[in-house]
């Protein structure tokens, strides 16, 4: 028995030590016994779903879809199959090489957009700046220095095939 100094009431030993636990237990009990929240949430699953899901997951991860295949007895066939496959690759590879090369440009813009839409890349401005190569252009050259006419003409001369098409007035620069 524990005595309070200010009054003569007593509490059982350890009463306050486990008070919180007992209170929480009681609240929980009351919540569950009097709650109007349904005990089940009404979801169901297709028949045999849990039996069928394991082989599906196994085939996508370990490559074992349930049945164990003996690799050893088929070894000789694999060499033959590999040889035939190699011939096919060689023949088709040589014939189709010039026509079936898929390049980045072949991707439809919609597909590229869809990729960026569905994948959160989270690239910030600095990361983006790192991705863009500025090897041939010094940013300060563009921002701080005025380009003089001679340099512009020189640049156009080097990069434009037919400079006459630009209809420049040469008299200004002669």
């Amino acid at each position: 028995m524990k005595k309070d100094k200010k009054n003569s009431f007593n509490t059982p030993e350890g009463y306050f030590e486990n008070f919180n636990e007992r209170l929480m237990g009681r609240i929980e009990k009351e919540v569950h016994s009097e709650s109007i929240i349904p005990k089940s949430d009404g979801f169901s699953i297709p028949e045999n779903y849990f039996d069928e899901i394991t082989p599906k997951i196994m085939s996508k991860t370990t490559g074992e879809g349930g049945k164990v295949i003996q690799l050893k007895s088929y070894r000789t066939f694999y060499y033959g199959a590999a040889a035939v496959a190699a011939v096919f690759v060689l023949v088709f590879g040589l014939n189709w090489k010039s026509t079936t090369t898929v390049a980045f440009d072949d991707l439809a813009n919609a597909e590229i957009d869809a990729y960026f839409e569905s994948n959160e890349l989270d690239i910030n401005t600095y990361e983006l700046a790192e991705l863009i190569s500025l090897d041939n252009v010094e940013l300060n050259d563009v921002l701080e220095q005025d380009l003089d006419a001679e340099n512009i003409l020189e640049y156009l001369d080097e990069t434009v095939d037919d400079i006459d098409e630009l209809n420049l007035d040469y008299s200004d620069y002669e």
């Binding site: 109007i36 979801f43 899901i53």
Partner: protein, 180 residues
Amino acid sequence: MIAEEALVKELKQKESRAKAFEVLVNTYKERLYWHIRRIVLDHDDTDDVLQNTFIKVYKNIDGFKGESKLYSWLYRIATNESLTFLKQKSKKADISDEELKNRMVENLQSDVYFEGDEIQLKLQKALATLPDKQKLVFTMKYFQEMKYEDISEVLETSVGALKASYHLAVKKIESYLKED
């Protein structure tokens, strides 16, 4: 848990990995299914997310340090996969997260794998109004009957905060269900 430690050890060894992984899948598939289902609601979506979860677990098993329990690591991956799935879904449909949640509940009415009555449908509507974390705490405690200590490991939140969150969720749901 010794059995869990042994399983993790087998999962990390190449020779025993496949067999140990099958044990892991069989042990946790049902629990993780229901955990995911209560987040994404639709069975087919749950099936996708469950498979993705196990694929992720398989790919990252070497990175599992054993600092937390195996099951809480699995639950964390399943939770993240489910929430990411919903985020991508709302992004694809170009709608807000709230709008997606409302649509998901509406779709339950025509879902062949939802056998709930009016009160269970109303419960889902009430759950859709809760913040993600509060909803998670409620479903993990109320339907999955997980211990607060276990939920605490999965959600990385203190037991005290979880208890407060749970009781707040119960109050909100009850008052929603009492509304006409």
